[in-house]
Symmetry: C2
Subunit: 454 residues, 2 copies
C-alpha cells in the first residue's frame, strides 16, 4: 500500500520521531468537539523545515495524506485524518527565533504556543495580542485565521501575520511577505496561506506583529436586563470609535455556567465583559465614555476590575467558559457554532438564535466576541444519540443560514475544517469552485489535509 511505503521511507528518515502506536494515533486523531475520532496511520515529529520538505516529497510520491497538527485545539475537526495518512506534529518546531523589539515583530516556529510566546516577551514591553482562549500553537492559529477576545482592537491573525515560510505539497520551500509593514509586491500569498488550514502547504515559520504592552489596563463587567440592550451597547460603543481591547458577551445561560464552574458570582443576566487598553488618561476617557453609553442603555451592576489579579480572574473565567458550558451537562460533548454578522444585525441574530435554541430540547449557551459581530452557541449533545445530533446540526445549519441572510459568514474564527464544509457552497457559490481550482493548482495530488475546506 502507498501509505505503508511512505511510512517505511519516513521511518528511515525520522527514526523514533515517527510513531505508529495506537496511543499516538488516537491522541492525534481526536477532536475537542463532537466529531468521532479519525486516526492517522502514523505521527511524525519533524525538527526543521528541511525535514518537513523531505516528508512532503515522500508523501507526494506515495499519494499519502499529510495532516499538519499544532496543539490540537481546533473545534472543527481540522486535525482529523478521514483518509488516514501522516499527522505532522509541529510541537518540536517551537522556538522563538528572533524578537525585533524596534520593529515590534518576532519570528517564530509554528509549534510555539501563544502563551509561551507571551512569556518569552514579558520583559520586552511587547506582547502578542491574539487570544482565542485555548493555548493554541501559532502555526495553527495562522492556519485557521484565528482571532478571539482581542480582535476588536488588535485584529485577527490575518492582520498580525507579516510573513510566512511554507512548505508546498511537492516539498518546495517558499517565503511569503517580509518584515516590512506593508507591501504591494505581487499576490498576497501570506493572506492566501493564512486560513488555508493546511490544505495548500505547511507553515514552518512565521513573522508576527507585536504590540506594546499597554501602560494602563482596566476591565469591567456589566449586566443588562435583556440581550438587546447588551448588544445595542456594543453597537453604540463601536460606532463611537471607543477603542475597546475586549468586549465580550455572555447570555444568561453562559453566566449560569461560569457561576457554577468558576464561582463567578454574577447576577444571572446577559453580561458584557470589557477591557480598555491605553495611556492612563486614555483608559480613563474610554471608560467614562463607555459608562455614559451603559447608563443610557440601562446597564447595571457595573463593576471594575483594575487590579491585575481581578482581571486575570475575569479572563480566566471567560476562557474557561467553553468547559463551564460543557459541565452544564455531564458527559456531553459540544457542537460549537461560530457565526459573524455585520454589527447592525447582531441583536437580531443573537435574539433569533436564542429563541431557536430555546424552542429545541437542547441546552445551548450563547457567548461571543460581539465587538466583531461574532458569537457562538455551545450546543450540548450526547454524540451517540442520533436524534440529538440531528437536532444540533439542524440548529447549527439554521444559524449559518441566518448569518448568511444577514450579510455575514458561517465562521468568524474557527475555520471550516470538516464541520463547516457542507455550508461552503451556500456561503461562497462559484467562489468555492475557485478555491478548489486554487487547491488543485497548488496540491494536484490532493495529499494536503484532505477532506477539509474545499
Amino acid at each position: 500500500m502507498s501509505t505503508e511505503n511512505a511510512i517505511a521511507e519516513l521511518s528511515t528518515l525520522l527514526g523514533d520521531r515517527l510513531k505508529t502506536s495506537k496511543a499516538e494515533r488516537a491522541a492525534h486523531g481526536r477532536s475537542e468537539t463532537h466529531f468521532p475520532p479519525m486516526l492517522p496511520d502514523a505521527v511524525a515529529w519533524p525538527k526543521d523545515t528541511a525535514e518537513v520538505s523531505a516528508i512532503m516529497k515522500i508523501c507526494a510520491n506515495h499519494g499519502c495524506p499529510v495532516i499538519p497538527f499544532g496543539a490540537g485545539t481546533s473545534l472543527e475537526g481540522h486535525t482529523l485524518a478521514p483518509q488516514g495518512g501522516i499527522t505532522l506534529d509541529m510541537s518540536r518546531m517551537n522556538r522563538l527565533l528572533a524578537v525585533n523589539a524596534e520593529d515590534m515583530d518576532c519570528v517564530v516556529q509554528p509549534g510555539l504556543t501563544r502563551e509561551e510566546l507571551n512569556r518569552e516577551l514579558r520583559a520586552t514591553g511587547l506582547f502578542f495580542p491574539i487570544d482565542p482562549g485555548a493555548n493554541a500553537s501559532l502555526g495553527g492559529m495562522a492556519a485557521t485565521r484565528a482571532s478571539g477576545t482581542t480582535a476588536v482592537r488588535y485584529g485577527t491573525m490575518r492582520d498580525n501575520v507579516l510573513a510566512l515560510e511554507v512548505v508546498l505539497a511537492d516539498g518546495r520551500v517558499i517565503r511569503t511577505g517580509s518584515r516590512a509593514r506593508k507591501s504591494s509586491s505581487g499576490y498576497d500569498l501570506t493572506a492566501l496561506f493564512t486560513g488555508s488550514e493546511g490544505t495548500l502547504g505547511v507553515i514552518t515559520e512565521l513573522a508576527l506583529r507585536l504590540h506594546g504592552q499597554p501602560e494602563a489596563i482596566s476591565a469591567a463587567v456589566c449586566a443588562f436586563d435583556e440581550i438587546g440592550a447588551a448588544v445595542d451597547t456594543v453597537i453604540a460603543t463601536i460606532q463611537m470609535g471607543i477603542p475597546m481591547a475586549r468586549i465580550e458577551f455572555l447570555d444568561e445561560a453562559s453566566v449560569r455556567a461560569v457561576n457554577l464552574y468558576s464561582e463567578a458570582g454574577l447576577p444571572e443576566k446577559p453580561h458584557l465583559l470589557l477591557e480598555f487598553h491605553g495611556s492612563p488618561a486614555g483608559v480613563a476617557e474610554q471608560a467614562e465614555r463607555f459608562g455614559e453609553i451603559v447608563a443610557e442603555m440601562g446597564g447595571r451592576d457595573f463593576r471594575w476590575a483594575s487590579r491585575p489579579e481581578e482581571r486575570s480572574r475575569l479572563w480566566e473565567m471567560r476562557h474557561k467558559a467553553f468547559y463551564a458550558c460543557l459541565a452544564l451537562r455531564k458527559g456531553a460533548r459540544a457542537l460549537v457554532t461560530d457565526v459573524c454578522v455585520p454589527i447592525s444585525r447582531l441583536a437580531q441574530a443573537v435574539r433569533e438564535t436564542r429563541a431557536d435554541i430555546d424552542a429545541s430540547p437542547l441546552m445551548g449557551p450563547i457567548l461571543g466576541h460581539v465587538g466583531d459581530g461574532n458569537f457562538h452557541a455551545i450546543l450540548l449533545v450526547e454524540p451517540d444519540d442520533a436524534a440529538e445530533m440531528a437536532e444540533a446540526k439542524a440548529l447549527a445549519e439554521r444559524m449559518a443560514e441566518r448569518a448568511l441572510r444577514l450579510g455575514g459568514t458561517i465562521t468568524g474564527e474557527h475555520g471550516i475544517g470538516m464541520g463547516k464544509r457542507p455550508a461552503m457552497a451556500r456561503e461562497h457559490g462559484a467562489a468555492w469552485d475557485l478555491m478548489r481550482e486554487i487547491k488543485a493548482a497548488l496540491d494536484p495530488g490532493a495529499t494536503l489535509n484532505p477532506g477539509k475546506v474545499v
Copy 2:
C-alpha cells in the same frame, strides 16, 4: 486577427461605448511616469457587471488581452497595453451603491474615486481614510493594494476591503468575503484579488470599511537638522504607540521643491508633516507626547496647523509634492521608486539612498510615509536620454536591492505593474513561481492584463 474579431463582437455588444479612435487609445495607453506609451486596440466602457462578464467571455474566446483601467494614476505602467487588446475603462461604473452607517461600511462600484466617495460621505460622520494622494478610483486602489499618507493609522487597502465582486477571465462572476468584520471561511480570496493588478480578474464591486470622522484633528510640521534625527523621531513615535494619523517625511530636496511649487515657505531642512486624530483630549495627549520626542531628538520650527484651512493647505502641498518635484526640472519625467523596510532600518535605508543619489548626476528628492517604513525617491529623467534612463534604473535597482537586504520589499504601495517585474524573482524567489501557477490556474488563456506582475 483574433483581436479584430473580438472588437467586431464587442462593437455589437457595446455600440458607441467601444471606441477605437487614436485619441482614446492614446489617453488610455500612457503612463504618469517614465514608461513609453503602449496603446490598446480599443477602449470599452462597460456599464454593469453583466456587461463586463460578456466582454470577458468574448475576449477569452478570441485570446484578446483585457486591461482594466480606473483613473489611470498608476505609477508602474499597470494600464499600458504591451500586447494591445481591449482597455476596460471602469469610469461609468462609478456609483455608491450603499452606505451602511451602523456597520461603518459602504458598497461601491470600482470607477468611483476616493474623493467622490468622501464627498458623498460627508454628512454621515464617516469617511474612507486611504489616501494615496492622487484621486484614484477605488477599484484601482484595491487592485494595486494602495495606501498612502494615512496607512500608519488606518491600514492599507488590504485592511479596508471587506468584500469584492470579481469577474474572472472566463466571465464567471464571483463574490469574495462579506460585510462581516472577520471570517475564517475558506481561502482569503478578497486578499488574493486585492493587489492582483487586474491579472486574476476584474473587480466590479467593493465593500469598504469606513471610519468615524475624528472629533478633533491637529496637524503640524517640524524641521530637523539631519535626516537621521527626523527618522529616529518617527521610530520613537511608533514605538511609543502614539496613534499618528499621518507622519510624512520630506528631505531637503523635497522641501525645496514644495517651497518653489506651493510657496510652502519651509526652512530647507528635512521635515516631518504630522496629523493627529482623536477626541480633543486624545489629540492633545498625542501631541504633547510627540512634542516631548521631538524636543529630545532636536527637532525645530515646530508649527501647528489646527484650523481646517491650514491643514488643507498642508496636505495639498504634500499631495502636490510629486508635481513639485517634477517641476524642479523642466520637461522631465519621473522614475518613482517605492521601497518599504522594517522601521529599524529606515534611517539607514534613507541615508544610503540619499548618498547614492547625491553621487549620481540625477536629481532625486526623497519623501515618504515613514511611519510604515515606506519612502520614495522621485528620480527626474529625460526619457529619451538613454544614459540618464540607465542611470535612473540602476539607482532604482540599488534601492530595491537595499530594501531587500534590510528585510523589506521593493514596493510598499505602488505595485509591480511593468516597472517592478524585473525585481520580482529577487524578492520572492520560488514564491514568484507560485504566483505564476496561481495565474495559470485562474487565467489559463493569459488574457488578463498581460505583462504585469507575473
